[in-house]
Every structure is written in structure tokens, then in C-alpha cells.
């Protein structure tokens, strides 16, 4: 059985059918892509699986257990980490605090520790900090640890998002357009970082992308979503040559 499995997921916003009969099977360590034109429902698929919305129909199974209808924070602590398309950083907090906070569900010292600064808390906070700094180094922003995020350049903010998501120790990492709004140079760096992170940690990755270059380079399997329905699924080469995809998404000429 796959690590993350979605079966026959359908979702309505009122009368609008946003996602229809969506199926997904992510194997451990796999890198998958989800592409589609604007408004196809890619982010909705993410939001459905990560618990922001509960699907009208269908099943979502992570590691053999159903996670449908659970709160987003519970789903996240079960092993679904994510980043957001429009950065959702906490503007008054430092980079290090972001990454530390993503370990919230793993904190054991509890309220007594928080109130009275017990030795257990001091130990645990130090351990969290070590892990957080390692993750920051992994995405090469260790030197920015004590900066307030709103002072950082865009590319660095994206990396904070990534490090923060990694800090939840995801089994499957959801990346919602990790290169959105980046210039070509930042784009290449980001792709390197994603590859590097995948090689180091080895979790499964499921990413939404607009830029074909990124998806084609990174992903082993790609799904194409149009109007909430998967019209094609396959390897980059298969997707590239699939006439339906070319028609619906890439246009009449082959771009790549």
C-alpha cells in the first residue's frame, strides 16, 4: 500500500464542483508533481488533503490510517508537512523561531515547563534549537537564524517556509509552487535545495508547479489537473507527449 493514498476524492464549494474523483498514491521517497492551468483546483487538492477543507466524498489514507476530517494540525503532526503558495510566515518572528515552532506537537515539557522554566524545558528547547539550526543549514540560511522574517529577501523567505515545513518531520512534503515569483537565478537555487533536501532526508515530495522546467526536472510522476479532474498521469516524458495535456495546458506547440 502506498504511503499516502487518496481515493475518489470529490469536493463541492456550494454548487461548484472544485475537485472530481481525484485519486493519488504517493510511494515513500517519491517525488510527484501536480500541474494544471490557473484555477484547475491544484491548491484545493492540497487544502483537502492537508485538512483545511474536508472533502465532500472520498478517502484519504496516510500510512494505513484515515486522516479525512481531522484538524490540520493533527494531520500535520501525523506527517504531512506543507508550504504555502503565497508566503504565510509570521511577520514578527525570527527565522529560528519559525523552525522551532513547527516542532510544537513534539514538545513534551507541557505547560508546567513553559510557566516555570524547568530543567526539562531548558534541555528540550536546546534540543529543538539544535535541530532547527541543522535544518536552516540544510537550506543554507543558517546565518539568518536571528533575523525577523519580514526583513529577509523573497528567496530567503521561501527557504524559511521550506525549513519550517521540514521541521514538522513530514513523511510527505507538500510544496505549493515553491518557485513562485522567483527570478531565474533563485529558481535554480531552489531546485538545487529541493533536490538536496530530498537526497538528505528522503521523504516523499508532492509539489504543485507552474514552471514546466521545474516539474519535468524534479518529478518522477506527474499528474495534470484540468477543471478539478485528472486528465493525465505519468512520467515527465509521457506527460510531455500526451496530446490531451498539450491541448489543455501547454498549448498547440510543444514548449520544451
Amino acid at each position: 500500500m502506498a504511503l499516502l493514498e487518496v481515493r475518489n476524492m470529490t469536493h463541492y464549494f456550494g454548487g461548484l464542483r472544485a475537485v472530481h474523483d481525484y485519486n493519488l498514491a504517493v510511494e515513500p521517497g517519491q517525488v510527484r508533481g501536480l500541474i494544471g492551468p490557473n484555477g484547475a483546483g491544484k491548491t484545493t487538492v492540497f487544502n483537502l488533503i492537508t485538512g483545511i477543507y474536508t472533502p465532500t466524498e472520498g478517502e484519504i489514507i496516510l500510512d494505513g490510517e484515515s486522516i479525512k476530517g481531522l484538524a490540520p494540525n493533527v494531520i500535520a503532526s501525523r506527517g504531512l508537512g506543507r508550504t504555502f503558495q503565497n508566503l504565510r510566515l509570521w511577520r514578527h518572528m525570527t527565522v529560528l523561531e519559525h523552525v522551532k515552532l513547527a516542532r510544537y506537537s513534539k514538545i513534551k515539557y507541557g505547560l508546567p515547563g513553559a510557566f516555570f522554566g524547568t530543567p526539562a524545558r531548558v534541555r528540550e528547547e536546546a534540543a529543538i534549537e539544535r535541530v532547527a539550526l541543522e535544518l536552516l543549514d540544510l537550506v543554507s540560511i543558517g546565518h539568518l537564524a536571528n533575523q525577523i522574517v519580514s526583513n529577509l529577501p523573497y528567496g530567503a523567505q521561501r527557504r524559511v517556509e521550506l525549513a519550517r515545513a521540514l521541521s514538522t518531520e513530514p513523511k510527505v512534503l507538500f510544496l505549493d509552487e515553491p518557485t513562485a515569483g522567483m527570478n531565474p537565478e533563485e529558481l535554480v537555487q531552489m531546485m538545487d535545495i529541493i533536490r538536496h533536501v530530498h537526497a538528505e532526508i528522503g521523504m516523499a515530495i508532492f509539489l504543485i508547479e507552474h514552471r514546466m522546467k521545474v516539474v519535468m526536472d524534479l518529478c518522477q510522476v506527474i499528474q495534470t489537473l484540468v477543471f478539478g479532474e485528472v486528465i493525465a498521469e505519468g512520467t515527465p516524458d509521457e506527460i510531455r507527449s500526451n496530446p490531451a495535456v498539450i491541448d489543455a495546458y501547454l498549448g498547440k506547440e510543444v514548449v520544451i
Binding site: 511577520r91 523561531e97 513547527a102 514538522t168
Partner: protein
Amino acid sequence: MGVTSDVIRTNQNIWTRARGWLRATYAHVPLLAWLFASLFSVLLETFVGIPLARALGLGKIPALFGVVLALDKPALIPGAFLYLLVIYALPISILARLVAGIANRLAAWLMTFPVIVTAIVHLGLLYANLSLWAELSDYRDLVARLAMIAIIVTLSLNVVNGYMGEFSCSHPGFMALGAYAASFFTIVLFVDENRFGAPLLPPGWGPFMFPISLILGGIVAALGALLVAIPSFRTRGDYLAIISLAFMFIIKSLFENLEVFGGARGLSNQPNYASLLVVFIWTILSIWIINNFVRSTLGKALNAVRDGELAASAMTVDTRRTKMTAFLFAAFWAGVGGGLLAHVIRYINPDTFGIRKLAEVLAMVYLGGLNSVTGSIVGAVGLSLIGEALRPLEIYKWIIIPIMLILIMIFRPTGLVAFTEFDPVSLFRPRMENRKEVDHGAA
């Protein structure tokens, strides 16, 4: 035109030079030195304060650094100014610089012990200062106690309105719950009073049971908070403000109609347990615990909920639990503050905990600064002093304070000292001139 700008430029030069000089002179003065110097000042006042005040034509010593005189008897301002200069400003500024070397060495030596030792030495000195200062007039003693209670209440409201970014108006209600619960406890158990009859326990036990009554008050307030929190934290936005405001009025009219608690006449005869030392200890305790909480990763979850709830929940933060915990925690401390207040003024009625109290606490939070322990202390103490200074204006005080609140909201929406982290350990640290200290700061 040219002349004016020249004048401005020279003025600026003088200011920058003065600031630079001040920084150079006092950069290496540790907290310990300031405490020693002010202790000397307070002792000086104890011995020569009254004769000096008479000689300057003040009649009695200016109780609150002359702020009360400012509006009441403006003719005495020059005398009060001289008094402050001789008793406080000059001795402290000179002595702090003189003892800086010794104090630094002492502070460094203290740092070799566990932090608690340093903390106790500093707090002991602070309390010595405070008690000697308050010894000189009952008025000072009262204002000091009220200001410290204001710190507890302000800080706890800052947890909700600042750190968590919700807008709660029910703090006076929580204070009322705490005040009534604690008063009921101590009066029934330890006071011979005509309404509740003879004390149930030997009155001698009272002072030792006082912490229990305060904690009880805090718990009752937290239970009240639960009633507000359950409906209002299902959604975000203005609901909490509306529900909490309603809650405050409900509590007020509840106590107005409960004859057990004296109805609108209120409850009096609280035993005199809330001495300066007791209030001081509770204030320090509240600052310590609240500061511990907001600096922990669990406490940072409040900031995350404020700055982006969706992202917080996607990062495993249980947002609902976080909000509930913080709200109940804040209410607990408001209840403790209320209990202390009841035993300081030894008379409470429902009117004590009305919209005026709300305006006062909100003004303290927003003046001092959101998301900042230091800010809350500054706001609470500052506004307490301003409140005393404006006392001669009587009812117009309640025009001035809201206007101040509006002005703060317009010109400095986050307050004077907002978004800072309060690290007591760095406060106690010696300020040596060698480079070690710099390295430490960078690390």
C-alpha cells in the same frame, strides 16, 4: 531661514553629543550599581528628606517625584525640582558611575553562582529600595502597591491583546471574580464580621492562607474565562471583543444583584494581608511566570496564531488549545490581581470593575507596548503615575486618559516599547569594558 536651520543644526549637535556622552559614561554601569546608588538616595531621603523639603518651602516631601504637585500647586514646582535634583538625580547619576567598577566585579562574581542567586540579590536590593521609599509616606506605599497590581493585570491582558492579537475587554470582569472570590474566602475564614459571623479558622493563620485565597480567585476568574472562550474562539475576528465586553457587564450586574456579596454596596473589611512585600512577591512571580511562558516555544505559538493562524495549524500548532490556554492563563492572573486589589483597598464594589477599569487597563497595555513584558511594566507604572498626577482634575481625568489612548493608537499604534523580548539574565549581567562581553552579545 538660514539662521533657523543653523540653530536647529547646533541644537541637534548638542543633543547628539549629549547622548553620545551619556552613552559613553553609563554604558558600563550594571543594574547592580543603579540599585546601590538609588538605595543611597532613598536612605538620604530618609534622613534629610523632611528638613530639606521644609527648607525648600514644600511643607512635606514630594511623595511621587513631584508629579502630584504639578497640577495641584504649580508654585511649588521649582522647589520640588530642586528637591529631586539633590535627593535623586545627582546622587544616583554620580554614585552609579562611581560604584560601577565594584558593582561589575560583584555582578560577575554573582554570575558564577546559579542564576537564582543573582536574581535574589537584585530583587532583594530592589525591594529594599522600594520599601524604604514607601516607608516615608502611606500615600507612596498605597500607590506602589496599586502600581504593582496594575503591572500584573496589564501584563496578563498583554498576553491576550498583544501576544495573541485578540481583543479582549473582559479583564475587569476577571478581576472582579478574583477579588470577590478571594475576599469571600478571607472574610469568611478569618474575619469577625457581622454578615458572615465569627471566623471559621484562627485569624492568625490568615496571612499564610492568603496565597490560597489569591489562587482561588485566579481559578474562579479562569473558570469565568472558559465561559467567554468557548463561544468566542470558534471563530476569529471581533467576536471575542463583543462577547468579552458583554461578559464584563454581566459580571458587574451579577455582583450588583448578589446580596451575599453586599450587592451594590460592595464588600468591605478585607483583612490587611496585602502588604508591600506580599504584593511585590506576587508581582515578581507573575512577571517571571508570564515571561517564561511567552518566551517558550509553546508561548511563541500565540504569536504564530496572531500572525497567521492557518500557517500555525499547518505547522502542527493546536490553535484552539493555544488560544484557550492563553486566555485562561491571562484571566487567572487578572483574578490574582483583583484579589490583591481587594486586600489593598480593603473595600470593593461592582463599580470598581466597570468600564473605567477597562479603559485604564487598555490604556496601560497600549501605552506600554504590545507583545512586550517591559512595555507592560512601563505602561502600568507610567499610567499609574499619570493617573495620580491628574487626580486634581477629578472627573476630567476620565476625559484625558481616553484621549491619551486615542493619541497613542494614532501616533504609535503598537505602544512605547513594543515587540521586545525581556531577558532578565542579560539585565543582571555585568557590563565590563573588555571584549568578552561583546562576544557574549554576538553569540
